[in-house]
């Protein structure tokens, strides 16, 4: 749980924590390895510093440190937590990508996008799922069968295919905010069936309770009744969040990796992982996997949280469902 909290806070505080804006390209730093922070050097102990990087072989992307010069770190400088004293010698905690952008900063800014679109998608999926499941469970009969048939149909489809086909239908958009809204909507569409099934089962059971009958007898309409019954599904929906978050996060990674999601300008984790797709480069620059590790950490966090409620996870997982992954 703590792990997740750290990540969320880091994502929100990205402009403060990240040393550099995600689009800043540093000269002569293509595929640079992570900057090493030193405290000792030949002259003794100092405040944390770095050595400037010099190109040894441009074509082989080999850099060496110049041990003669010290560049101290600057803290709380211009609204950022830490930078170096020399703007041309950047602090690259996770190294640099193909055009010299700081991977660490991009991972932090990307967290906002990737996690944001995931959470928005989860919220959307839960709202739609709760409504659909609520109505189905309350009304029963043909509506119930019809809605659940639709849900089952969508459940059987692999999420990635569904999102990709829907996404490719739409015109390529340029603005990051437009892409954000679009992807959240698509994820909500992919994620609602599972939630709907669970909610429907709970609501259908609740429907048979005395207070529900009483309410019906008193003349409550379908919507009012459904709204009265829905709170019973609270626990289920909470667990559902824990299931959907990793699924949708990975969906964002997949869709953006394949080029159908966020564009390069916006540093989403999935898009950043594209740089790691060139195997030969990856062998020399393994820090390009940082966004993948970030995804892993978030998924791990949700897994650990779900293990706290371990029983319910397994039980839910046993109903036919799909996770876009």
């Amino acid at each position: 749980m703590g792990l997740l909290a750290v990540i969320v806070v880091a994502a929100c505080a990205a402009p403060l924590l990240a040393p550099y804006p995600p689009s800043e390209q540093f000269d002569d730093r293509a595929y640079a390895s992570p900057t090493r922070i030193h405290i000792f050097d030949a002259a003794g102990v100092h405040a944390p510093f770095i050595h400037p990087l010099v190109i040894e072989d441009r074509l082989a992307r080999r850099y060496v440190e110049d041990p003669a010069t010290r560049i101290p770190l600057r803290w709380f400088h211009q609204g950022r937590l830490v930078v170096t004293a020399d703007p041309t010698q950047p602090l690259l905690l996770f190294g640099a990508d193909a055009i010299g952008r700081d991977v660490f900063s991009r991972v932090l800014f990307g967290a906002g996008l990737s996690l944001g679109v995931t959470l928005a998608g989860v919220a959307g999926a839960l709202v739609i799922g709760a409504l659909v499941g609520g109505i189905a469970g309350t009304v029963g009969g043909w509506t119930d069968s019809g809605l659940m048939l639709a849900a089952d149909f969508l459940l059987a489809l692999p999420g990635a295919y569904l999102v990709l086909v829907l996404r490719s239908m739409l015109r390529p958009v340029l603005e990051t905010s437009e892409i954000f809204v679009l992807m959240s909507a698509l994820f909500a569409l992919a994620g609602w069936p599972h939630a709907a099934r669970g909610v429907r089962a709970i609501v259908a059971t609740e429907r048979t309770r005395d207070y529900a009958e009483a309410s019906r007898a008193a003349g409550a309409g379908t919507w009012r009744l459904a709204l009265q019954l829905l709170p019973a599904a609270r626990g289920f929906l909470a667990v559902e969040v824990v299931l959907l978050v990793p699924a949708l996060l990975v969906a964002e990674a997949t869709v953006s990796y394949l080029g159908f999601g966020f564009a390069d300008t916006s540093a989403s984790w999935g898009r950043m992982m594209q740089d790691a797709g060139n195997t030969m480069v990856l062998a020399d620059a393994p820090w390009l996997l940082a966004p993948a590790i970030a995804v892993f950490v978030v998924v791990l966090g949700t897994q650990l949280v779900s293990r706290a409620g371990a029983r319910s996870t397994i039980l839910i997982a046993q109903s036919p469902n799909v996770q876009p992954s």
Partner: protein, 306 residues
């Protein structure tokens, strides 16, 4: 074969067929509605309006959507899925070969995952205190958080730097491991839970008290009950495998259905997308059908509830 079983199978086949038809038709409609089509080829000089119109006619794009859809479905009956607008090849052949590649990859991954996950799950479920269980549990937890896209990239780093895994395109190990490992971990976790519960059941405990050896107990008595929950997630497994295969095939250059679908979507290749959707839906339906049969075999109650 009993009537109930026969009815069960017939019903399942019908549902599967409808599923395949609906999925592929939906894909067809969606792509058809997309603005822009493949009637003009990129950067070709000297293409007259007449030849563009001829291409549109050849691709069937001058018909209205319902007519076009009906014609395509009619073609299905003859196993004619049209021709790809990209290179003029018959879609049926292309899709079939790619479908085989995806099926072989997914099948191998499934077998590997089951072979790794299920026995380990039984082990950890029935011996909760051994050190092996602790190690397996931790590894499982880590792997379950490595969805195929992450796993593929991690394995590519492993392969490129150590050479333990061949990352040459067309070799099975890399993509299979990427798909199989998270699945194996999930199966292990489920199986562990189920085995622990089954093992704790009174009749098994009584048998153990009678002196029946643990091994026989596990395999003969508990396994039937234990496997049931795992078969219950067969639906997830199938869909997850295919969902994951899209990313895996792209990264590892595996010539499967996922990679073909991406290519087709990019090129707005109507027949190819519909063909891929058809093939994908077929594979899913087959997977679910086999799972249903297995479940019916293991659990007689399922046969009666159609």
């Amino acid at each position: 074969m009993s009537i109930a079983l026969a009815r069960f199978i017939a019903w399942r086949l019908l549902v599967a067929g409808l599923f395949v038809l609906v999925v592929s038709s939906s894909a067809f409609i969606l792509v058809r509605l997309t603005p822009g089509d493949a009637s003009r080829e990129a950067f070709q000089t000297g293409v007259s309006d007449a030849s563009v119109a001829a291409t549109r006619h050849r691709l069937g794009l001058d018909q209205s959507l319902p007519v076009h859809l009906a014609a395509w479905i009619g073609g299905l009956a003859r196993f004619d899925l049209g021709t790809s607008s990209n290179d003029g090849r018959p879609v049926a052949g292309v899709v079939a070969s790619h479908m085989a590649k995806t099926a072989s990859l997914a099948g191998l991954a499934l077998v590997l995952a089951a072979a790794l996950g299920l026995p380990l799950g039984i082990l950890t479920g029935t011996r909760p205190d051994s050190w092996v269980t602790s190690i397996v549990t931790v590894v499982s937890l880590v792997l379950v958080c490595c969805p195929p896209i992450i796993g593929t990239l991690a394995l590519s780093l492993l392969g490129a730097s150590t050479g333990l895994i061949s990352i040459a395109p067309g070799h099975y190990l890399w993509p299979t491991l990427a798909l199989a490992l998270p699945l194996a971990a999930m199966l292990e976790r489920l199986q562990s839970q189920a085995a622990a519960e089954a093992f704790a059941a009174p009749d098994i405990a009584a048998a153990a008290a009678r002196g029946v050896p643990v091994g026989r107990l596990v395999w003969r008595h508990a396994s039937r009950q234990a496997f049931r929950p795992v078969l219950g997630v067969a639906g997830i497994v199938v869909a997850t495998l295919f969902s994951g295969s899209v990313a895996v095939e792209t990264i590892t250059s595996w010539p499967g259905l996922g990679a073909l679908m991406i290519q087709a979507l990019r090129g707005r290749d109507l027949y190819l997308v519909a063909g891929c959707a058809l093939a994908g839906a077929t594979l899913i339906a087959v997977g679910n059908f086999c799972a249903d049969l297995l479940r019916a075999a293991v659990d007689p109650r399922v046969r009666l509830i159609s």
